[in-house]
Amino acid sequence: MNTEHDDRDLVDAFRRSYGRLVDQAPSAGREWPLALTAREMTTRPGVRGWMVAAIAFLLTVAFGLGWLVSPAETSVGSDPFQIQTGTTMTAVPETSGPVYSTPADAAIAYAEAQEPGIEDPQVTRIIGIYADQSLVDLRVQVQADDFCYWYGVTGQVEQEEIEWQGGLAGSCDG
């Protein structure tokens, strides 16, 4: 077998492998709140995101109840960045406990701790994100068969990496 033929076979093998991997990539084109959060934070500061953060801070100080946040609610096919005033997320960042490298890991670990016996939980949506200073808050939906909860997870930036911890939960239909 000559070198040129060898190389062609090798390139084809790479293409087949990457083709199968790319087929597994998360579906593209869905609404992704992160981009919307980026827009809020970088081009329109002082509007919704910062207003919500300021309200949360004041409530924290006033009531000493942890962190009370009205999250930006997004959903596919509807207004992509709409604050649902009727719903609130009480995300209390944990000051101790396991730290995870991804929000999905943190949310799933928290789901498993809250719901022993849950089988094969999957993160199905990232619903809302807030970023402020070195803290990031996400609302993540975790689903498994007839189980569906959202979890507030909090990330702390440590040396250019984010360490995630679990937060409080709520029912998907609540």
Partner: protein, 148 residues
């Protein structure tokens, strides 16, 4: 072009790139982490000369960080990686065992169809280094193919 437009224009490519590097279940986490860190740093993508290249480099760096934490290679047995009945599991496993830089280079050149120079620009390295990555990756895969 504003940050949101830049992100939306590149997000599909970035998620596929991250999928090849860390697998589908972590791809979105990687891409979101890269953008969140940028937001937290109060830096705009639109201020960069080459925001697309920045995003690709940041995704590769984030993937390398995560893979180095694991101290193990990816494997096709991982949830969501590829179907269990993959027709060439040993070839795919060999690809997954390549260092991230070699996987990135081979993906961009052999799958995405970029030239060596374009790949070098996107990865922030010299064309000669891309060629070396391609050579090393081909050599590794050749050993597996020869056993077939």
């Amino acid at each position: 072009m504003d940050d949101e437009s830049i992100f939306r224009k590149n997000q599909d490519d970035l998620i596929r790139y991250a999928t090849v590097l860390v697998g589908p279940t972590r791809a979105e986490d990687v891409v979101s982490t890269v953008v969140v860190l940028r937001i937290l740093a109060r830096k705009r993508l639109q201020d960069l000369d080459e925001p697309r290249a920045y995003l690709f480099r940041a995704v590769l760096n984030e993937c390398k960080t995560r893979l180095s934490r694991r101290r193990t290679h990816l494997s096709i047995g991982e949830a969501g990686m590829v179907p269990a009945d993959d027709p060439e599991p040993d070839i795919l496993q060999a690809v997954l065992e390549l260092p991230p830089q070699q996987r990135a280079a081979t993906y961009l050149v052999y799958w995405a169809g970029m030239t060596v120079v374009e790949t070098a620009d996107l990865m922030g390295i010299r064309p000669g280094t891309v060629k070396r990555y391609l050579y090393l990756a081909r050599r590794k895969l050749k050993g597996v193919l020869d056993e077939h």
